[in-house]
């Protein structure tokens, strides 16, 4: 086998340009697949993490029939915890917090925009919604003062700077119009596309004054593991009361995760096409090599190499092209995926412009590096190359030695 491999390697190096061209198609196929898979897996994870860390938590309680369309945040019904639900949360959740989400009109001078206001409990919120990715220009609003933090897009649309006053106008929980002048304490980028496009964050006390109620519209729960969400939600549903619905990050991200699955299928399709092209290239290269080396094959056969030996030689050549191409592709794709898995790509501006707050996903896209995908891609590349080289190898192996030696 060692001799066959050496012979195959030497044969490939006889036409380095042709070998390289053939390998490039495999580099592209494997590399693009690893990159695509890294992005799709990363996006799926980003969608999940954005929901868990930005707006939902692991489990969430909200008024029954709460609208799911973007931009709809009614406060005519709010959440009251039953004593049993509160006891369950205190006993089994790592942390839980109430948020009051509503949709006031924010007005500054002649400009106005409908925003997504989030009233949070200053001390409890951070234990459910981590702030690792938060970047604040200025400061977070101080409790007890009429201060808010605004999303970058809101600041841009209303031409707001830190320290500027503006008016929030909202319907109270009961239905009357309320309005307060608030001051921009900071411009906040949370890393969540929905919040960064539309949010005005404020301590709960200010939100309660605006909506004239101290009840939250949502209660979000953090558990030890996100996989515990469905089981805990079942328990919570049993004690939460009839006016409240209990949702989990799984249900809240289902639509976006489904889109990622569709993308994955599309990616598999692209991979199939690229691999088919690569296979065609490998088959063509091996076939050309076989025809160019007819006399050599004849000599080898005359010297005692069996049909099987010739077949093995050409298949090994295909396998080596496959291995080299796939390994290079895996190195290129894997390195990029690995790099972006540690250094996210910031899509904030694109998300702000394109989605305008309708996308509950992180604007910082981390790719997902999976060593198994890299190894599997190399294996697929090699198998494709081997399978593609079978036919030309058989053509070479079946040449009659005497005719092959006499060939021009």
């Amino acid at each position: 086998m060692g001799t066959t491999s050496k012979l195959a390697a030497r044969n490939l190096l006889r036409s380095p340009r042709r070998t390289l061209m053939t390998a490039i198609s495999l580099v592209a196929g494997v590399g693009i697949f690893i990159l695509g898979d890294g992005f799709v897996s990363g996006m799926t994870e980003n969608v999940i993490v954005a929901a868990i860390d930005g707006t939902v938590g692991h489990v969430q309680l909200r008024p029954k029939g709460y609208p799911t369309q973007p931009g709809q945040h009614p406060i005519d019904r709010l959440v009251t915890l039953t004593p049993e639900a509160k006891a369950l949360l205190d006993r089994e959740a790592v942390a839980w917090t109430g948020r009051t989400v509503f949709a006031p009109l924010a007005a500054h001078g002649p400009d106005s925009v409908r925003v997504m206001a989030v009233g949070y409990e200053p001390e409890r919120d951070v234990s459910v919604f981590p702030r690792d990715l938060w970047k604040v220009e200025g400061a977070l609003p101080a409790p007890g003062r009429d201060e808010v933090a605004v999303a970058p897009r809101v600041a841009r649309l209303l031409q707001l700077k830190v320290g500027d006053p503006f008016v929030l106008q909202v319907r109270t929980h009961q239905g009357a119009i309320n309005a307060l002048q608030v001051t921009v304490a900071g411009i906040l980028r949370t890393g969540n596309a929905e919040l960064d496009a539309l949010a005005v964050l404020m301590p709960a006390r200010l939100a309660h004054r605006l909506i004239a109620s101290e009840l939250p519209s949502h209660i979000s729960v953090r558990l030890r593991h996100r996989d515990d969400a469905e089981g805990f939600a079942e328990k919570l549903r049993a004690v939460a009361g009839p006016d409240v619905e209990v949702v989990t990050w799984v249900g809240e991200t289902a639509n976006l995760v489904h889109i990622q699955q569709v993308r994955r299928k599309a990616l598999n399709g692209v991979m199939f096409i690229l691999m088919a092209l690569a296979a065609f290239g490998v088959a063509n290269t091996i076939l050309m090599a076989a025809h160019e080396r007819i006399r050599e094959i004849g000599t080898l056969r005359s010297m005692g190499m069996t049909e099987r030996g010739v077949l093995r030689l050409f298949v090994t050549e295909g396998a080596l092209i496959g291995l080299a191409g796939s390994a290079l592709g895996a190195l290129w794709g894997g390195w990029l995926v690995s790099y972006w898995s540690r250094h996210p790509i910031d899509f904030s501006e694109i998300f702000e412009k394109a989605a305008k707050g309708t996308l509950n996903a992180s604007a910082l896209i981390y790719t997902h590096f999976d060593g198994r995908v890299v190894l599997a891609s190399i294996a697929v590349g090699v198998v494709v190359a081997v399978v593609a080289s079978l036919y030309p190898a058989r053509v070479a192996a079946r040449m009659v030695p005497a005719e092959a030696v006499r060939a021009p």
Partner: protein, 253 residues
Amino acid sequence: MKRSMLVLTSLCAALGSAPVFAADPAWPSATELMKRMDQNLTAQTRKMRLVMTVEGRRTRTFEMVSYGRGEEDAAMEYLAPAREKGTRMLKLGNELWIYMPAVDRLQKISGHMLREGMMGSDVSYEDLLSSRELLSRYQASITGEDTVDGRPCWKLELKAKDDSVTYAKRVSCVDKETFIPLKQDLYAVSGMLLKTWTMSDVKSFDGGRQYPTKMTVRDHVKKDSITKIEFKELEFGIDTPKEIFSLRWLERR
């Protein structure tokens, strides 16, 4: 402090003066004023053709015809501009549907959207399409007299009877002759002034009804935003065809 209060009280008693805002016996009662305002401004059935001009960064003009039934039901159709022509709205109770012929689409607007400014104006769907009586929703007191554009009026302060009333407080100047609120300041729960609504060019209609044919709404939250409404045609107590208040009417061509 106690001493100065005592002096002030003694002085008032000595002079026999009444507190500044005590009602003058010659003044009408606040309830009477509200009744007269309601008689003028609300109608069981009504038809209006109006032109609404929204002044802001750019000025836009809309012309529409509207039909009203009771306090909450109303139907409206845009006649101009060409882009909006044929757009119809139907409000039944707290629900609102909009039909846009350009995209042949019927859309139901949720409750809180009723409070949004109509076509970017300072007038909400609720403001324009509802015809609610003040008497059932507000407690009022007359706080003095004033003049608006040279017309003498009663200064009336209205406070919402419950927390669900749209404007927590209104301060109106009610024309002494026509009982039309020539100027109304509308306040938020917090006490912030939201809008100033003025009415003018009052005309007489059958049954002694007085109704303004011009209104101006100035939004104090959005600076430099003014909406002007001019009623070109007004009919009250008419027989409005039943089919107008149905979803079928919305999509009818």
